[in-house]
Symmetry: C2
């Protein structure tokens, strides 16, 4: 499959590299790492084995990349104002676009521009970060869960999931993308925000009784809002929260993306992870009190 | 009146200096500023006129200070483990002790050691901070409101209030100290915590719609808990909150004590301002959701 990766941060570089290693033709839109990667290739370090791709197709402009079968979007959501213009040159009649971006609202941008039938979304439980230019460190992962923005389980979604699995990235196609998105939010909302705000990694927050309790309360608020959205089946708060904590404990002193964004002085993905979910909750009459406060505190930090 | 000031931070130094200037005999327990103040005196800068006290009685140990008529306590509450031992040498049979410390629980410490009948408490709306050793900067103030820990309006409380007024410090004796304490908490809980957490001063927090809304919501939570405590009369949330915001706006880029404590690496007064109020609310069946989250975030910052 011919794949374009737009937004080659830690997520885009890692998945793109895995897909290329498995024999797909992958083209990367690069900025910071363009020179390093096009001249020296791309290195992935990983607990499941390091590898190096000698020859990587890196581009500075999407217009130069040509049309592809699949566009994989890993752009930071605070750059979403440019999302459509970056993707448009890659689209021919049957090109699908899969956004693995954080939070809510990304599929809607793409659907408005290209039609809902072209758009898939997915959530990635991935621990990775960028090292020096040309290197991405993969630390661990759960599966990608992807599905059609329009809903339902399509042949196309199953084929893309199969492609990831064949490349060594566990992936599951789901019929209810919205549910997968809200489940991911139930992790992102507490852990991204609290780590960014306190500069403490996930294990430190879980180790203190008071912050652990807030994590649980925040997750419960998000699940309450999720279950008001008319999902295919409600999320069971107790068992879901227990599983999320179990998954997070072994991640050790993990620094989520929003914590790294704050520490490195980048803007935070507040609209996708907090703003839109708060509005969607409010539209269903659900007030997420703690989430709103966390958002206000994170916003205040952007204005220092 | 012979007065001992225990805890000569910005509050203790300012009130002690005002009382000495008005003719009282004031003895200061000093640590950081001992040498500067005993050799060069104490300077107060203030919008209502700077002044300098040439001769100030500074002590390093309370045992050397002798017995007094009134002990004025301005100690940071995180040092409360030492409160009773610092005050004890100053007490003769009829010595009164007035704590102007932040939060809840301070009068209880003193009452347990010396009897409830010796203890008064007060809340001070004071903007002041310490400058170089021997200097305190007074920026503005509202009145002190003080009263008997045992409740009721006493001759003694009226006399102490009169002494402050005669010294140029507006002061009112109140019959319901608990109410005055909770009203002060309704300011301290949002502004101390949010400025400490975000490193943004009060005016910046009020200028952003999202943090302003959290300030209002936090105040409403505290008032809800206060009104569950059996005060002499309930606090009217709407008018009280409007008045607090009106009072705070003209304070400009004010840095509350907890923000300074955090910026300067001191411990925060979390137990007096958050821990005890949360427990007292819970004992009345009131859950302060936002206050609890704020406390958890502030605690997390202490553990970095």
């Amino acid at each position: 499959m011919r794949i374009a990766v737009i937004g080659a941060g830690a997520l885009g570089l890692y998945y793109g590299a895995m897909l290329q290693r498995a024999g797909n033709e992958v083209r990367f839109l690069l900025r910071r790492d363009h020179e390093a990667i096009t001249t020296r290739g791309l290195t992935v370090t990983s607990p499941s084995g390091d590898f190096h791709l000698d020859s990587v197709a890196g581009y500075r402009e999407p217009a130069a990349m040509g049309e592809v079968d699949l566009v994989l979007v890993g752009l930071k959501t605070f750059a979403n104002a440019r999302l459509v213009e970056l993707v448009r040159p890659l689209m021919r009649g049957d090109t699908a676009v899969l956004t693995l971006q954080n939070g809510l609202g990304n599929e809607e941008h793409l659907a408005e521009a290209f039609g809902a039938g072209r758009v898939l979304g997915g959530v990635a439980f991935l621990c990775s970060n960028r090292g020096e230019p040309g290197t991405v460190h993969h630390l661990g992962q759960g599966p990608i869960r992807l599905g059609e923005f329009a809903g339902g389980l399509s042949e196309r979604a199953l084929a893309i999931a199969e492609m990831f699995n064949a490349a060594g990235v566990r992936c599951e196609a789901v019929a209810d993308l919205a549910k997968a998105r809200w489940e991911k939010l139930a992790w992102n909302i507490p852990f991204n925000g609290l780590t960014a705000l306190t500069a403490l990694p996930t294990d430190r927050l879980l180790a203190h009784a008071s912050t652990r309790r807030e994590i649980v309360s925040l997750m419960a608020e998000v699940i309450g809002a999720a279950n008001a959205q008319g999902l295919s089946a409600p999320i069971d708060a107790d068992s879901f929260i227990a599983r999320m904590l179990e998954l997070t404990e072994p991640m050790g002193d993990y620094h989520p993306s929003m914590m790294l964004d704050r520490l490195e002085g980048r803007p935070l993905e507040l609209e996708a992870i907090y703003g839109i979910p708060l509005r969607m909750a409010a539209e269903k009459g659900v007030e997420m009190v703690r989430v709103r406060m966390l958002r206000a505190l994170l916003e205040a930090g952007e204005k220092r």
